[in-house]
Subunit: 202 residues, 2 copies
Amino acid sequence: MTGHVSDRASASRQRLANAASQAFAERGFHATTTRDIAAAAGMSPAAVYVHHSSKEELLHSISERGHAVILELIRAAIGASDDPREQVGAAIGAMSENHAQNHVVARVVNYELGALSPEHHEQILAMRQQITAELQAVVDRGVASGVFTTTQPRMAANALLSLAVDVARWYHEDGSWSPADVGAFNAEAALRIVGAQPTATP
Amino acid sequence: MTGHVSDRASASRQRLANAASQAFAERGFHATTTRDIAAAAGMSPAAVYVHHSSKEELLHSISERGHAVILELIRAAIGASDDPREQVGAAIGAMSENHAQNHVVARVVNYELGALSPEHHEQILAMRQQITAELQAVVDRGVASGVFTTTQPRMAANALLSLAVDVARWYHEDGSWSPADVGAFNAEAALRIVGAQPTATP
């Protein structure tokens, strides 16, 4: 019984998160009401409050989940190799593919940070800093070992994240590129930006 | 006298555009009221309507001006050389530097397209397509002449615009990079993405 109730609660939360992401992406957080979200999810406003104490709390749960997924993807990509070239390609490829696949959620996650409460904002910024730090460390290792020739590793790591994040803005399903195409292209573009060499330069 | 009146009207319009850009960038178009904009510009709501018939018309004038400036910058950069390498570097450098310098306006221009009326949206999309077409033509010329080695010129041109547009999202004055630093880095990153060669490949 408990299992069923909890499954149902989890399905409701997922339905709410999807409805909220769509509404926030279309009209922005501030212009979206709890009533709008409830209607889109086929629930009563009261039912929304069973799951989330406020609209901001709902945004925070979407943002936290989105950032956790990206951090996991990047750590998995980096953990799968010892070669900074494979690590950078896999990390930016996976993040770009994810942002294409989930572009509605990714838009909210990347462009509604200012709507979070100060405490939540701080927590999400810390997660973003972890994402940047993971990527920066790989770029720095590639520079140290001579497989990356960029002389501006901080701007390079920032540009790699730019390429991946901006997918959330421009990607549409009716374009001619699949999420996998975007991932593959950005993986290669990332390696070009850091100046990846086939072998370490002396 | 007419000159004075028109100067004053033009100064008011500029003050309104600045106040509106700031408000739209902070809270989003839909959650910003004409009253908010008037207050931020130190005007009465009635005075706002002297200059713009609606909040949407104000957004449109900001968007149109922003896109016109970028189209001009890109055309000037391309017109200043016959070498696709210099053209791509100058175009993406200028656009990136502009987006850093004017990141508040650039955020509104790039992320509030969905709030435009259908007619205005269509007009602005046509301007964006012109920007893309100018850049695409240079990338294609570089590929044709063998100075660019990318095998995916459409995705490459899209990635160059990504790098420049995303500056509007991440740039803050309190960072360690000036707008000129961002322009210079992105100009070089753009050339790496298209696979620019020191001389044409046979």
